[in-house]
Assembly symmetry: C2
Homo-oligomer: 162 residues x 2
DNA sequence: CGCAGATAGTTGTTTGAACGACTAATCGAG
DNA sequence: CTCGATTAGTCGTTCAAACAACTATCTGCG
């Protein structure tokens, strides 16, 4: 009789409101996915966001992209792209250059060393992703995408910036 | 013939493999949800994890919980619970006490001030959560929960710890 | 022109995260 | 007992995140 309200063990196992369950479920699942991906990238000396930047730059032209564009394409928004690029540049994975048309813009491009760093990662990464969601049917995956898109649109409408 | 695959603009708008889309979608959506929740909690001097700890402790008995148990119930795993509790204790929101049965264990309990800090937050928080997912039908929410549970089980099997 | 406003990026500073090493207490086998 | 192994928590240190303020460049209107 000392713990009358001790039935709240796991935030995901409760009979919480459906909205709470969904929000918490997304956050919880994302945290575990990040944990699984962290170990993967760490073996290659990269963080999640670093790999993301390199992948984005590899998909860009040889002139690279403006920092603003890189930030817009990132999965997770980083509030200080400058110093993140600083570290990548210090490691020789990206290269900065001034934009000839706009003196404010610094263009960022991937270096050959950066390409080598992420070379060969795509296939094992995809295998890991498949292992994470492989038990879901294509229909379930499509529904998941649609539900997430709905939530993210609502969430972006409530973000401070922009 | 140097860049034959330069059609990758937005990580969510591509025709990427379904597994990649799902993984990226969860991470992307979680990041936006966190951004929306951050502003909410910030107005009350709390972070997401801090509010989470207080909510967990409020659901526990008057003796509080062992740090280990708090960590296990958290939505996002924190690798240094000690200093997180340090900050909450410094602000007078929680209180530490030694466990009489096990000298290794430090029990953590919420203080009246901690209760006041999170009092009244539940309803607006729930309203925010509903605003985030309100456009989804109950069926869609149930399917979302099921899909996330599947993914998180697979992800936890690939985490370093435990 | 010339100046108000907007945009892109950098920098300062504080706070928290991440990783590992370390201490102390408990448990279990012999 | 008592010694090795395990568990709970704390501490040191390094790195990155977050927020705000600042500089420099561009845009457009008068």
């Amino acid at each position: 009789m000392t713990e009358p309200a001790g039935d709240r063990r796991d935030p995901l196992a409760t009979a919480a409101p459906a909205a709470t369950r969904a929000v918490v479920g997304v956050l919880y699942t994302a945290d575990r996915i990040r944990g699984a991906l962290r170990g993967f990238f760490r073996a290659h000396g990269l963080t999640l966001n670093q790999h993301n930047v390199l992948r984005i730059l590899r998909g860009a032209g040889p002139d690279g992209l403006a920092g603003r564009e890189v930030a817009a394409r990132l999965i997770e928004r980083v509030p200080d792209l400058t110093r993140m690029i600083d570290r990548l540049e210090r490691d020789g994975l990206v290269r900065r250059s001034a934009c000839p048309h706009d003196g404010r813009v610094t263009r960022i491009a991937i270096t050959p060393r950066g390409r080598r760093r992420i070379a060969g990662l795509e296939e094992p990464l995809r295998a890991l992703e498949v292992a994470l969601v492989g038990d879901l049917t294509p229909t379930a995956l499509a529904r998941l995408d649609a539900a997430l898109a709905t939530i993210r649109d609502a969430a972006e409408a409530r973000l401070p910036g922009t």
